[in-house]
Structures are given as structure tokens and as C-alpha cells.
Symmetry: C2
């Protein structure tokens, strides 16, 4: 229909969400970064043009639709990253390792790294795994050398 429609707008429509400025802006920001983006950072860069509450609702809607996923860092701060693929409103499939760099404090989605399944005591039924590794990221390691 409309060839001007961007891929973000398609994503919104596909998920039954109206294409509003706030939503497009969040998608723009998140997709332009190589690591997860914290809620405080988002709130700061989006400024007062978009209300805090709207940002929270946008993030919540995106998470529910499987457009983004949330990663809590070691301080409990919410960080968001675009889901790579296959996630939808019914299920997220991004059980990859997240890497929290002690130096630059970026949180990387290590999409290719599956979480190794631990052997839990009998009786415990594991449904989801969430592994956060902390240390020094590749970029920071390079800088030092």
C-alpha cells in the first residue's frame, strides 16, 4: 500500500499497534545501539517531549508483543534490547547470555550464546533460565591493549 512505510512502522502495524511518535522514537533509539538501553537513558534522551508514563507504557507494550526484551542489570535497573527474531506476543525466545561490562557498563546480548542448563536437584522443574555474566567486554579489552 504505502511504500513510505518504514520497517519500524511495519513492525508496529504487524503487532496491532498504532504508529505513534513515541513508539517510533523508542524503536529508532534501541535499534541504533549495539547494546541494551536502560530506562533512565531512554527517559533522558527522549526528553520532556514524551511523558515518562508514556515511555513506560511503550516499553511494556513492546515487551508484551515480543518486540523487545528486558534485562535487569546487577543494580536491578531495567535495560531493553530489540528481540532478534522469532519472539512474539505468546513467547520470547531470547534465552541468550547477557554480558554486563564492569568497565563501560554496557549490557550486550550475546545472541549466539545459549545458556548452559544446570543440573538442579530432583523435584525442581526449570522453565526459564536467566544468566548474566559480568566482566570486561571485547571493546574495553581492545582499548586497554
Amino acid at each position: 500500500m504505502d511504500n513510505n512505510i518504514t520497517r519500524f512502522e511495519e513492525l508496529l502495524v504487524k503487532n496491532g499497534l498504532k504508529r505513534t511518535g513515541a513508539r517510533l522514537q523508542v524503536l529508532e533509539i534501541l535499534s541504533g545501539r549495539d547494546s541494551a538501553t536502560s530506562q533512565p537513558y531512554l527517559e533522558q534522551v527522549m526528553g520532556k517531549v514524551v511523558d515518562r508514563v508514556t515511555l513506560y507504557r511503550v516499553l511494556q507494550a513492546f515487551e508484551e508483543k515480543g518486540i523487545i526484551h528486558k534485562v535487569l542489570d546487577s543494580h536491578g535497573t531495567a535495560n531493553y534490547a530489540i528481540c532478534s527474531d522469532g519472539c512474539d506476543a505468546h513467547q520470547h525466545h531470547d534465552e541468550h547470555v547477557h554480558f554486563d561490562c564492569d568497565n563501560c557498563h554496557k549490557i550486550y546480548c550475546l545472541e549466539s550464546v545459549k545458556i548452559p542448563v544446570p543440573k538442579v536437584p530432583s523435584g525442581f522443574k526449570v522453565q526459564h533460565l536467566n544468566l548474566i555474566a559480568t566482566g570486561i567486554c571485547s571493546a574495553c579489552t581492545d582499548k586497554v591493549n
Copy 2:
């Protein structure tokens, strides 16, 4: 009970902490439970006898001394459990798996379950691992059957 008091008092003294009511009460509560205890729960059961701020400071001191460790659940809520191993002021070594039950919402320290080390891309240097498994705990599984 009296034995406990003595044991806890020794623990405090050993760590250069004065044995105060608030600290002993926190140790009592945490040690009497089979799973990690959330800050909100602690605040509730300790009531207004102990100020919120004092509770925060007690928890912070205990964590620094290696007496307890903090586990953030999937909502980012702080939960605390007594350290089993020889943790001290210089280092925690309780990198065990934590199990967050979807049913009873208890967080278990699976002391015996080490976190399997993931293979991260070259350049990334892992220093710590934090794995939280969610699912149904042993007690809840039993109840259903």
C-alpha cells in the same frame, strides 16, 4: 535458640560489628527460613521497632562482611540469604544457581549447583556469573501430586 543467639553474636563480633538488636533480629529471621528473604518482607516483619534506614544499613553491612548475599528476583526485588561457604569481607564465593519458584515465589539457594560456564565470544572476559532459574520448586511439585 539461645545457642543461636550466641552463634550470631560471635558472628557479629568476628566481623567487627557491634551486637545490636536490629542485627541479631535480621540474623534470626534469615536463618530461620529455607529460602532467601525479600527486603519488603523483612521490613514488614521487623515492623516499626526498627527503622527502615537501619534495616538497609544492617543488610548493607552484612553483605559487605560476607555474612549474607543479595539475589535480585525477576522483578528486581532484593532478596537476602545467609552465606554458607567461607565468604568474607574480601570476597563472596557463593556463585551457585538460584531458583525462583513461579508458584510460591520463594527463591532458593541451590548451594550445591555450580553455574555452568558459558562459552562467550573471544575478547569477552567473564569475571562473575549470575544464573537465576525460574520454574516450579520441589515443594510445590510435591503439593500438586
